[in-house]
Structures are given as C-alpha cells and as structure tokens.
Symmetry: C3
C-alpha cells in the first residue's frame, strides 16, 4: 500500500464506515439504517463469540431486530483501527471495540473484542461484506445469555 | 462535504481541538488554558447531565474552577470521532468520551457519554462555541453528587 | 509544524507505529516482532510505574519475555493520540492507553496510563527510541504484583 493522499482518503472512509456501523448499532432503533452498512450478500460471522453466522440482509436484519428488542443501551467504542489490505474496491481492516450495553432486563455488559472486517466499495461507498469478531479479553457469561436467544 | 486534502486537514484540526480540550480537562490545573478551547460567547450546555448551562468565559471558568478543586484525577478518552458538518469556518462534530475521575473525597467515577460540539474557526484555530454532552450509558449516581455542588 | 499532506502522512505513520506496538504487546507470543518496534538503543522507561528502565534490545526482550510468560490475555487500547514534535526523522507523540490484561495466575488488570514516546525514522520506518509511561488514574495494586517479578 503506497502511503499517499489516496491512501489517507480511503483509510478515513474505511474508518468512517466502521464508526457509522457503531453509530447504527448504538442507536438501537433502525434496522434499515443498520443494513446500509452491509453488502447484500454480507456474512455476519459471530462464531468467534459462539453465536451463529448470518448471511444476507434478511438474516442480518433478523439478528439486529432481536438485539434492538433486547437492549436498552449500547456503546461501541472504536480504537486501534488499522488497514490490513487495500486494493481498489477491496479492503480488510482490523480494530478493537469496547462493547457496552444494558439489556432491558437490566443486565449490564462490558466486553472487549476485535473486529476483522472485509469491505467492498460499491458506488463510492464502503460496505461490510464479511464481519468477524472475537474476544480480546475473556467474555463474561452475561453476553451469551443476552444474545443467544435469537 | 467533498472528501479531499482540505477535508482531511480540517477533520484532523477538529479532532486535535477536541483532544486539546480533553488534555486541558485532565490536567486539572489551568483554567486559563481551558478557556482557550472555547469562543468568548461559548455555551457549555450540561443539561443532558442534569446540570446547568454556563454561558461565556466567566461562567465557564467558574465551572471548571470548581471541578478542578473537586477532582484529584481525570481521564477523558476520545473515540468514534466524526464530522457532522463542515462549512468554511463552521463545523459540528460528534464523538464518544469515556470519562474517568477520582474526586479528592475519594469517589471514583466512570461514565460513558457522547459529545455534540459546534466549533468556529477563529484566526485559523477551531474553538468550541456550543458544547453539549449526554449519557451514552446510564450514569452512576456518583457523577451528580460530585459535580452538582458548583 | 506546518499542517499539510506531509504532516498528515507522518502523523498517520506515527499513530500506526503505536498501534503496531499495541498489536505486538497484545499478541503475547513474539518477542522478535516486539523488538521491531524499538530502535537498537531504545530506552523502555517504566519508572513512572515504579518499575525499572530497560536499555537496548536485549534488556527489552528480557522484559517482554517475562510479561508474555506471565499473561494469558492483553488489550492495549489507544486514544487521544497527538503529535508533540515532528522535525524530519525525529518525533515525539503522546497518547492515552487503556491497558487490559489477565495473568495466567488469573489476576485481571485494568489500568489507564499515558504514553510519552520519542520516535526516530530509520529507513522510512518510525521506531520507538524512548518509551515512557505513567498512570493517568491511580493504579490498582495488582499491576506491580504481576509485572515486578522480572
């Protein structure tokens, strides 16, 4: 990857795409907005959390519909963003996420994970085509309890 | 907002202005330095935290004087920075802040909030003209207890 | 420091160097990779944490060998990155780090520190020549207990 203006602009756009995803998941109220972060054929692979994989907009919408029903508060804090690959309209990025939440049942969650994301630029906009995450620190029990109902 | 070199430079300057604010609030020892982060007519609107609004340098100085007297340690950790508006010398940015503190009375604070800031560029330097923050996650009781004395 | 494309590229490279260090310390399995983050004559000054200073690759390798033996998990979350000095191949940067860990003995660590780093660009790559860190918030007892054995 040549480090030049083009690189900085793409890196900024890629990080903004991840921040946009975080904003959508933290709003907890708009599944359609959430889907704009994913390509039509995206894979939301949560096997690193011992949860299923969800393939395509319909399955992904089902997952977030359940999450948004379960949770009253969310905070997804991004750090250590880095570009692993950038070739034309294809990119891979990694980052850390501090995931905070409170469920409507009153369970507080605080987890530390890393994201490994494949993104594809479609009509000038980066969208997630493969979303993988796994724990950075050991997970508390509460996480599986809250999210495994779906 | 056209994404070009000018945009990257302004976004960098805007984020640096928020980091500079965090550095000032974490130093806990220089109210004059803190005031350089705000326009003369700035509004520090803490109503989202059930605290007052402070208008202009004198009132803002009063608030931080009290905070700096109360607290022995501060950490304001910035993440998820994004530019919502950028038009010439006017900008709006949003971000998350993890707010850490220990009061001189020995009370530990850890809060997760978001900032919504209006900034104005004056003589080439971005300064905060409207500072609004609100909880991202529910606030612990300790926060109001520490800050509401002012 | 003139704020132009050159500045943005160098700032990005400097931040990427710190993220690379964090990635190495969080992998916990490759001391040689860790050493690529430091100049041959680097000083790893941990006196701000009431630990020793380590000078040169051999001593630094000894420290991280011990840390990697002690810890089963690590997370070093970077925020509030700023460039304090940038003159040719010499730079100084500061940032906050949220340091998370679990020792193999089962002790969980969560600390908030700031880094003050001097970096030197060698053959086009920024490397740390002086690494200093100190607590942002008071340290829990567990930290010294885990790291002071080395």
């Amino acid at each position: 990857m040549q480090h030049n203006l083009e690189y900085l602009l793409e890196k900024d756009a890629l990080e903004a795409a991840v921040v946009k995803y975080c904003t959508a998941v933290d709003r907890l109220d708009d599944v359609d907005d959430m889907l704009t972060n994913f390509t039509e054929d995206a894979v939301l692979d949560l096997t690193g959390l011992h949860l299923p994989s969800f393939v395509g907009h319909k399955e992904i919408a089902g997952f977030y519909t359940q999450v948004f029903e379960d949770m009253s508060h969310h905070g997804h804090l991004l750090s250590n963003f880095r570009v692993e690959k950038l070739e034309g309209n294809d990119a891979q990025v990694k980052c850390y996420i501090t995931g905070l939440g409170r469920s409507k049942a009153g369970v507080d969650i605080q987890v530390y994970v890393w994201y490994d994301l494949i993104l594809r630029k479609i009509d000038g906009t980066w969208k997630i085509s493969v979303f993988y995450e796994a724990p950075l620190l050991p997970m508390p029990e509460s996480v599986t309890a809250v999210h495994s109902k779906g």
